[in-house]
Symmetry: C2
């Protein structure tokens, strides 16, 4: 039986009470940010949304994303009241509790971690797109704050959603007028938000967010809107329901005091004695194509010249043809990253994200939560645009999220510094739990694509623009955390650790040094993280010195990883980019920045 | 004498010719992206803009930012034709030329490097804001591509500009319909762009971008628009003027072939024989307040407990009171970063950037080009949002750009992982030329703020949420590249390298270990980059082992920096965050992640 508006309103008051009590008990948190959205949560969970409180996993249900993650207490309260979780709400923010200060997937109802604003809608839109590709039912809802809508990524997601006709998305903006440190830009001028969503191709409606009937009817109308995503702009009051909190500045992120203050606040909420059973409602499940273990089939000749970015495209297309769970995204660079080869195989599982890298990564994360293996590619330097999204994605612990950055380093040549990724290894190494792979030629590129699809969590693949010679047999095997010692003897005096385009340089240097009577070991460090500590430590012990050479900043990349791994067993000298590069030919730039064969030869002579 | 429309149209053809010839000579580049905007450039530089071709520096002139940086060839051609540069256009993209593939300040007319799309408008808006704070005249123009407008940062800048009433800004969108890898989202549906700019508070007009008269008249109207920024949406054709390039897919980033193909293209442009002298036109210069050397005045008692973030605010306010060249920005976190103390001193030199960190950094960069020293602050984790902007800012070689990230690491406590910066040291270390400072207590925090204001280029200051005890005298001096050896003896067995909140932990561990008879050296590594190699190498040589301890990912931060610096002189053991953190009390989390005094004691015992 449907809950009445009066019951939904009382439930809203109860959610406010929980939000107040749990934050007061925790001694920190954002009660007033919860209180503005209590009716929105009550209507969503106890009237609008179809889901089974016993099953957080199903794709045959509606999904809710709390994009304004600081309102976590009311999410926990709502899930508890809906019978979806059993946790004690008063354990909020404690080390022994799943109820964190901002939502994380420790609670399985949370698909994506939030708390960095402006990201929830991107993931939501990704879920909607993934459902659309499968013909899967179910709506996805994202609830944002008004301050949050200043993030440009919100508008990237808005454009993606309308461009793709995702009418299974509803965005709700809780316009409570007050940000963290003062009023928001537009305060209660809700017309601004409505006009912006409309100009981005959405249907949009403004309501009093504390009017249960109005919210309920607007969401119902949104459910029936066809062809366009739907935005509900809700005018609300921060701290609503308690006189000394309501619409007051100075109360962001601040709980009320235990004792009298809390009692006074709770008393103002009136009678909160209500329980509303949630009826388990699901959509008919769809039959997804069964996943197929990812495998590639490299077919190169030794010595053949192929860019790793091209091999990436070939491998990705192979996965596209055989593994229905693999999807691909790209940011209007698909002809350069070679993701276009995937699109050629199955355009329906390819998302053109256009020039909006934050949203591309957010969409990919959302896609992942629908059971897919997303590969998202662009120039490696432009993944830095999405660094906060990658950081947050790590906290979301996705089962799969593969990022490919092409055109790494100065070896791209004439386009100049703006297009050269020199920080991507550092940024990806610092992401907790991320795997970082960097192929030097085509066979390893294909194998690392396969490995990426088989590896849990976030995997970064770094590809290069120039062609490099194939040095591995097609059946060569690679593992996460491995390396290849491509040249070695018991007379090696120096170990050269290279990766990507510098492997070829190291091999050239090896030959030239051998002619001078200097034996060198050459390691292809294709797994930058985790790094092959055993092989590196053995090489450090067996040779006099270690030399690293990378087409990347000398800080935070391969040099640092190797120095940390060998930890005192040998001195580590680092060749890498130390100055801002410029336009020029690839070979000229590699020489100028001291990472070519000549530079390696010079450095080894000095060390040997 | 004003150039006629016919003359401007012929100049546009000449600029096309230059763009074709220079890219063909270079063998790479984006001629068709230049050709769509030839009339726009011709009207801007030879009719609309006031500037002195002999002086690229003045604030008493209009400024142009080519946000679609891949169209650099037509910028170089226009500057050459205007008499602003003397370079040979046919040296485009050569190592010995200033005329790079994307604009960089090697040519002084380029204030900010572009080539990562969606950034130019943010910097432009920053220049406009800085001029407004000084009452300085002159308009600023940003020219963007249509594909570029998909970047959310464009809309962050748009909101900032209209919110601040910056009617000295003009944005031009060259809607040429074609992106890199296919058509843009909206192709020639210019109404979409006009509606979006209007919904973001701009005046907006659409014209045929190849109609010189229409462009000229629209820009003149925009010049007179009051109270709102002005957007010119120009419908254009990519490759305009040459039949086999015009509006054709497959020609992005591709020069025509030397010989017959180039001859055919040039022939189609018709008569390009024209020279238009640019009259030197300036505004009346304003009298800026003379800069004052930055200095702070820390006033703490030894042992007093003060958070470094608070000391940052105190020092910043001091600079605000005494140095008119210092400005501050914050992203709706000013009550947490303590930037609000600057606002209290001089609200006119404070910019509230709201929750839009990309634009905040872009605006700060633009502000810097107006001769200011900008300090931009937010939670350290949210600076990752602006990483691509920071990367590009480095290429822009700003005289000053100070970024402050507060709330670093797990020591923030209950808010949980989404609010904890664990990657910021890695990301900032990898930025070429950037300085990275990390105070452990209030005196060093203030001194490092002073140092940041005196240091050229990009400076990052990392502050912490918890209070820490003051350990330095108020007159203690600090230098970029320095460190403080706060405990040492000739019996030291292990060197502990700490920074920020871990210095206090290291000092506690030092005492406890001393009681056990284990002497340790303690280094406060307040300058993370450049790092004090001499002191670290000496410590490594004088002790048996080095232990690093940081409230940051164990990858890419202090551990890596120290391992690289000591390079084999001693084994380096690293304590840092290795797992995704969660909500909890600061002390609990520091214990859980093994970076507190207990963890240090255990590690030192194992090493000693």
């Amino acid at each position: 039986m449907a809950a009445s508006d009066a019951q939904l309103a009382r439930m809203a008051q109860k959610l406010r009470r929980h939000s107040l009590e749990s934050t007061t008990e925790a001694g920190s948190g954002h009660p007033t940010s919860c209180m503005s959205m209590a009716e929105l949560m009550s209507v969503l969970f106890f009237s609008e949304m179809r889901f089974d409180p016993a099953d957080p996993s199903g794709s045959d249900a509606d999904v809710f994303v709390l994009s304004k993650g600081h309102a976590a207490p009311i999410l926990w309260a709502t899930l508890k009241e809906a019978g979806a979780i059993e946790d004690d709400l008063l354990t909020l923010r404690r080390l022994d509790s799943r109820l964190e200060g901002h939502p994380t997937p420790l609670v399985p109802w949370v698909r994506v971690a939030t708390g960095s604003l402006g990201q929830g809608l991107c993931a939501t839109v990704g879920m909607a797109w993934a459902r659309r590709t499968e013909g899967a039912p179910g709506r996805v809802f994202a609830l944002m704050g008004d301050g949050e809508v200043a993030e440009g990524s919100v508008w990237e997601a808005a454009a993606f959603a309308s461009f793709n006709g995702l009418d299974n998305v509803t965005a709700i903006v809780d316009v409570n007028r007050l940000g963290q440190s003062g009023p928001t830009m537009y305060q209660h001028d809700t017309a601004v938000y409505e006009a912006r969503f409309r100009s981005f191709g959405w249907e949009a409606v403004t309501v009093d967010g504390h009017d249960v009937k109005a919210v309920r009817e607007a969401l119902a109308a949104g459910r029936n809107a066809k062809g366009k995503p739907f935005a509900l702009v809700a005018r609300t009051l921060k701290g609503k329901g308690v006189s000394f909190l309501e619409d007051k500045e100075g109360w962001h992120g601040k709980p009320v005091k235990k004792g009298e203050e809390l009692q006074k606040a709770v008393a103002e909420l009136g009678d909160t004695d209500i329980t509303l059973p949630v009826e388990a409602r699901r959509y008919s499940p769809i039959t997804e194509r069964a996943p197929v273990p990812p495998a590639v089939a490299p077919a190169y000749k030794m010595g053949q010249e192929v860019a790793t970015r091209e091999a990436y495209g070939t491998a990705l297309a192979h996965l596209g043809a055989h593994c229905p769970q693999v999807v691909a995204l790209d940011g209007d660079t698909k002809n350069s990253t070679f993701a276009e080869r995937f699109k050629a195989v199955d355009p329906h599982r390819f998302a053109e994200a256009y020039i909006a890298e934050q949203n591309m990564v957010g969409v990919a994360l959302g896609v992942s939560t629908e059971g897919k293996i997303p590969f998202a590619s662009t120039f490696a330097c432009f993944l830095s645009r999405a660094y906060d999204f990658i950081r947050m994605a790590a906290i979301s612990r996705p089962s799969h999220l593969v990022l490919c950055g092409s055109h790494a380093g100065v070896s791209i040549g004439e386009d100049g510094a703006s297009q050269m990724a020199l920080e991507d290894l550092a940024m990806m190494r610092a992401i907790t739990g991320a795997t970082v792979l960097y192929p030097s030629e085509a066979v390893s590129a294909e194998r690392l694509v396969e490995l990426a699809a088989r590896t849990k969590g976030i995997v970064y693949i770094r590809t290069s623009r120039p062609k490099t010679k194939v040095i591995y047999a097609n059946d060569e095997q690679f593992v996460v955390g491995g390396s290849k010692t491509v040249r070695s003897s018991d007379k090696d005096r120096v170990t050269i650790v290279a990766a990507g385009v510098t492997v070829e340089e190291a091999l050239t240097a090896h030959e030239r040094l051998a002619a001078e009577g200097i034996a060198t070991r050459v390691i292809d460090l294709y797994s930058v993280k985790p790094v092959d500590v055993d092989t590196l430590q053995r090489a450090a012990s067996e040779t006099k010195a270690v030399l690293t050479v990378e087409d990347h900043s000398v800080h935070g990349g391969i040099g640092d990883a190797v120095a940390a791994a060998v930890s005192g067993r040998a001195p580590v000298t680092m060749l890498g980019v130390r100055e801002i590069p410029r336009s020029g030919k690839p070979a000229e730039l590699m020489a100028m920045h001291g990472i070519d064969a000549d530079a390696i030869v010079r450095a080894v002579r000095a060390l040997a």
